[in-house]
């Protein structure tokens, strides 16, 4: 094996890839060759480092220099200064990556990483996901070896049960129990499936794991196959994730080549194969029975449970279905033992959880925290607070099935049960931060619009009920709300949650219920005062020219597409409310900021 004196890790996750990390890698290789350093320095395209906000990210080891927002044109300087002369290029370092004495901080010392604990993401940003040897060098396939040669299937299941691991895809069902049910079910054929249909808008941890560490999922599925007695696995991936699909395919091929997947793994009589199935853009396919229908090649419609997948799943056979992040924890539990895993987290929620931090927050990206971390720590310490010094209003978790957590609950330790208590849920891990400029009624409307479009239409509470709720919300946000609308929303919500067929339908009213619980006054302001306190709902806005600030230049009148603004030059202009279409063109043109939205 060739040894290198330096390694340049370049993030190849979707975020950094989109901001040009491929070009960065190309120029690195060109420049290294130019300086004849190609045998001394190795460039590695890794998975996601998590701090997507400042991508593309480049880390140079052994120094651990953390460069951020690197463009192709910055690369020659890094090569000639840092890699050739050993001088770190300080101007390109991430602002929180240097000590006061100007030495580079290690990742653990950076505010963003300090409170994180990476288990599911342990290899993301560390290894080249397209090279199985790098995975093996980090204890890859060691857990599978141990399981196949030293453990009975029951022992594997007991280990997972003892770890306290719960499903990371949403509902939080104990993983070990699921394995046990599937193992005990009778069937001549069984399947192990992986739910990688990450449909929660704003969640991208599963994608990052598949892109950054695909082998950990394959290895865990194979272990699961051994534990429950299955010889075939399917990974159901969203078609929106082309990079993840490509890396998974490469990983499957490499694992087969090494005899770690396929016939007689590790020379034992255990055989296991994994196939990829692509989704085609249907949110409901994240629901387990719908997902299985889709694997079979049908419309992805849910069916009533029982029978549960453990009894009757894919092609009518007992099926184990876990989500990507759940699988990503498995090998670590097998290798370190369940006790070690149990040490992390709260009483009923063990281990860590990955959150996709997004919305109005400084450090958007992927964070993995021990269960029990508070929302305040996530938003203000790891997340670096809210841009522009704006006020925190709410954090949305659980996507279209979840709810909004207001400022009063910022200190709640986050785990499965505490989130449900405050009217939200863990969900798959999207965490969207909203500030004072976001309207909570509009957010509820946004989620309902999503649900209505994605409702599969099989059961009427979801198909018709959510549509009626959306109509009421549209009415309220367009200034036509009436007394009694809130009560109607509540009645509909109750009916839908108690009667819809699948989990997604039953939880569809949650965004409305949780915003009503904490932000009822905003709903009332829309309905009674015809005002949108956050200034979002166009129909309720009024554009006004502040007389004291207006210099009478007339730019606003010129920019108005409907000639709603008039006035004499050098004296304050006026907006005719009747004519105004509230497009906001005048406001963006005014050089004196004399136009306000009210």
């Amino acid at each position: 094996m060739q040894l290198y004196r330096s390694h340049v890790l370049v993030c190849g996750g979707t975020g950094c890839h989109s901001s040009g990390s491929d070009d960065v890698i190309r120029v690195f290789n060109e420049e290294l060759e130019k300086h004849n350093l190609q045998d001394e320095v190795k460039v590695v395209r890794t998975g996601c480092f998590g701090l997507c906000e400042v991508g593309p990210i480049v880390i140079v080891y052994p120094e651990g220099a953390f460069y951020s927002r690197i463009k192709a044109e910055d690369v020659p300087e890094i090569v000639s200064e840092h890699l050739l002369k050993g001088r770190i290029v300080k101007r390109l370092l991430y602002h929180d990556a240097v000590h006061e004495d100007e030495t580079a901080k290690s990742l653990d010392e950076m505010e963003f990483y300090k409170k994180q604990r990476r288990i599911a993401l342990r290899h993301c940003g560390v290894i080249d996901p397209e090279n199985i040897d790098e995975y093996i060098a980090f204890e890859g396939y060691k857990a599978l070896g141990k399981v196949l040669t030293e453990m009975k299937p029951e022992e594997v299941i007991d280990t997972i049960k003892a770890s306290g691991l719960r499903g990371r895809g949403g509902a939080g069902f104990p993983t070990g129990l699921k394995w046990e049910f599937t193992a005990k079910a009778e069937g001549d054929k069984k399947y192990v499936c992986c739910n990688a249909d990450e449909g929660d808008p704003g969640a991208f941890m599963d994608r990052s794991i598949l892109e950054g560490d695909p082998h950990s999922v394959l290895e865990a599925m194979t272990i699961a196959g051994y534990a429950v007695g299955a010889d075939q696995g399917y990974i159901y991936v969203r078609a929106e994730y082309p990079i993840a699909v490509r890396r998974l395919s490469i990983a499957i091929e490499q694992a087969k080549e090494y005899g770690l997947l396929g016939e007689n793994i590790f020379g034992t009589d255990f055989s296991f194969d994994i196939g990829i199935r692509l989704g085609a853009g249907a949110f409901v396919c994240g629901e387990e029975t719908a997902l299985m229908a889709s694997i079979e090649g049908h419309r992805g419609e849910p069916r009533p449970r029982p029978p549960f997948p453990a009894q009757k799943g894919v092609f009518g056979k007992p099926t184990l279905l876990n989500n990507v992040e759940t699988y990503a924890n498995i090998t670590k539990i097998i290798l370190d033992g369940p006790e070690k895993f149990r040490e992390i987290g709260t009483e009923k929620s063990k281990g860590t959880k990955v959150f996709a931090l997004g919305g109005n927050i400084n450090n958007t990206g992927l964070v993995e925290i021990p269960m029990g971390t508070t929302l305040r720590e996530i938003v203000y310490e790891i997340g670096g607070g809210i841009p522009g010094g704006k006020k925190f209003k709410a954090a949305q978790t659980g996507g279209p099935s979840g709810g909004c957590i207001p400022a009063e609950h910022l200190d709640t330790p986050i785990d499965y049960d505490s989130l449900i208590e405050i009217g939200s849920m863990m969900g798959s891990g999207g965490l969207i931060v909203m500030d004072e400029d976001n309207c909570m009624v509009d957010i509820a409307r946004f989620f309902l619009e999503f649900t209505v479009e994605e409702s599969c239409g099989k059961c009427s509470p979801c198909r018709i009920g959510t549509k009626r709720m959306l109509e009421i919300l549209n009415k309220i946000t367009s200034g036509k709300g009436e007394e009694g609308d809130i009560e109607k929303l509540e009645t509909l919500a109750k009916t839908i949650s108690s009667s819809a067929l699948c989990g997604l339908g039953q939880t569809a009213p949650n965004p409305v219920l949780s915003t009503l619980r904490y932000f009822r006054d905003e709903y009332e302001a829309h309905i009674r005062d015809k005002k949108c306190p956050a200034g979002v709902c166009q129909a309720l806005l009024k554009y006004v020219i502040v007389e004291e600030k207006c210099k009478g230049c007339g730019l606003c009148a010129k920019s108005c597409p409907v000639n709603a603004i008039s006035g004499e030059r050098k004296s304050p202009f006026k907006i005719d409310e009747e004519v105004c279409i509230k497009c906001g063109a005048c406001m963006s043109k005014c050089p004196f900021r004399a136009i306000e939205k009210k």
Binding site: S18, P201, F204, A280, A282, I295, G297, H298
Partner: protein
């Protein structure tokens, strides 16, 4: 079935036939076949659905049912450039709706439709998972992030 469509696209149907023969014996082959068919034809006209139904020996209603259920299957041809505006939550709270409105204005088409010259199709998509760059749009495989409505005309001009 329109005969001329099949004659005009003889090579494409041959390619499709190859795909079907390859996957026919797999379990649950319909979705992967439809995905490949859409790659080959660009969309799924009724003639293609009919062909698949006959080759797999299943009712056309099954094929049509699946083709219309999933949003990524299209029964109509798409423009040369497909513009997808991410309407995931992270993008939405950062102003994706305004970006979408601007695109609709600049291209003079509604969401979900194609310009008359067949150059652009404008779509609202689900989360693309590039939340760190919100708001994000994709034009075919190119991703543009951290957008403001004002950036749109310049981006579109590149493709004209």
């Amino acid at each position: 079935m329109s005969v001329s469509f099949i004659e005009k696209n003889k090579e494409k149907f041959e390619a499709l036939k190859k795909v079907i023969d390859e996957k026919k014996s797999d379990k649950g082959p319909l979705m992967p076949i439809l995905q490949q068919a859409q790659e080959i034809f660009g969309y799924l006209p009724i003639e293609v659905q009919n062909f698949i139904a006959e080759e797999l020996d299943i009712p056309i209603t099954d094929v049509y049912g699946v083709a219309t259920f999933y949003s990524q299957f299209s029964l109509k041809p798409k423009g040369k450039y497909r513009i997808g505006v991410c309407l995931g939550t992270a993008c939405y709270v950062k102003g994706a709706q305004q970006v979408l409105d601007e695109l609709s204005k600049v291209l003079d088409i509604d969401v979900g439709s194609t310009t008359e010259d067949g150059t652009f199709t404008l779509e609202a998509t689900r989360c693309l998972g590039a939340c760190g760059l919100a708001p994000v749009i994709m034009i075919n495989d190119d991703v543009y992030g951290r957008l403001e409505p004002d950036d749109i005309p310049e981006i579109i001009a590149k493709y004209k």
